[in-house]
């Protein structure tokens, strides 16, 4: 998918573990893992808002668009 989630980078910057972030934003570890490994098809605004609040960042810090996989992926 051309939209890539950069959650791992931001978490590394903030030195926050996946378990810690999951409990703070109220997501299950499995769902947060889906997001982190770029397997998610969609993200709710409420989830994005909670992630930005806990990681103290902007949505653009979490998401990136790459053109190279555009033809093969499902947007």
């Amino acid at each position: 998918m051309p939209i890539r989630v950069k959650l791992d980078h931001v978490m590394l910057d903030r030195r926050m573990s996946l378990t810690d972030l999951a409990s703070r934003v109220g997501l299950t570890l499995a769902n947060l893992s889906i997001l982190k490994t770029n397997k998610a098809r969609a993200i709710r605004f409420s989830t994005l808002e909670a992630l930005c609040r806990e990681l103290k960042c902007q949505p653009g810090d979490l998401l990136a668009w790459t053109a190279d996989e555009d033809a093969s992926g499902r947007s």
Partner: protein, 218 residues
């Protein structure tokens, strides 16, 4: 709006299809097991191709026949005698008095029993997945597509068996005032049913995609 009682219906249907599957398997096994014991086994195919095996000392073979009636041989009159007519062609059953078992009838009936078992197994599997709350799965899409194929194959097998039986009787038997005939006939309803199943498969495919989207939305 009232809540539909889907899982309850699916549970009942799954039990029904599974029960029918086992009943046909047990009945067929008993019939086959009786052959080595020396009991006579007959195959009966209804006028519309429905197969049935019968066992016992008086078991006889029955074949579907189609025939044309000699002009004027079967006159009919209304009760009030105001109108009249004549039967020109009809279908029926020929009961063979000798213990004869045409191979095509046995093979055709066996194929149709196999197809019916296949259809029942697929229907039961779909109903079980609905009962378990997991209807939108890729395997259900394939099951429903296979059901459509099975419907077409069953109809082709039925038409072939009926045609073969009609042709066999037309070649081997004769009767006064009757002329046995054999014409291939595919039931349009079975083909339409298969098309409806293909549409249903597409609905399930879309539902599966939506379900995946939903489950991968964080």
């Amino acid at each position: 709006m009232g809540r539909l009682r889907g899982p309850t219906v699916a549970k009942a249907l799954a039990a029904l299809f599974t029960g029918l599957w086992w009943w046909i398997v047990l009945a067929s096994s008993v019939v086959v097991a009786l052959i080595p014991l020396g009991l006579n086994v007959g195959v009966q195919i209804g006028p519309n191709g429905e197969p049935n095996f019968v066992a016992g000392t008086a078991a006889q073979t029955m074949l579907p026949v189609a025939f044309e009636i000699e002009a004027g041989a079967a006159q009919v009159t209304s009760v009030d005698h105001r109108s009249s007519g004549a039967i020109e062609q009809s279908i029926g059953m020929l009961r063979l008095t000798r213990p004869e078992r045409p191979w095509f009838a046995i093979a055709g009936a066996a194929v149709m029993v196999g197809l019916v078992l296949w259809i029942l197994a697929e229907l039961a599997a779909v109903c079980r997945s609905v009962r378990d709350g997991q209807p939108f799965a890729a395997r259900n899409v394939m099951r429903i597509r296979r059901l459509a194929l099975a419907f077409v194959l069953a109809e082709v097998a039925r038409a072939a068996v009926v045609y073969a039986a009609n042709a066999y009787v037309a070649a081997q038997f004769a009767a006064d005032h009757l002329r046995f005939t054999a014409r291939p006939h595919i039931d349009a309803f079975a083909v339409v049913s298969a098309l409806i199943l293909l549409v249903l498969a597409e609905v399930f495919r879309t539902g599966t995609e939506l379900d995946e989207d939903q489950s991968l939305t964080v």
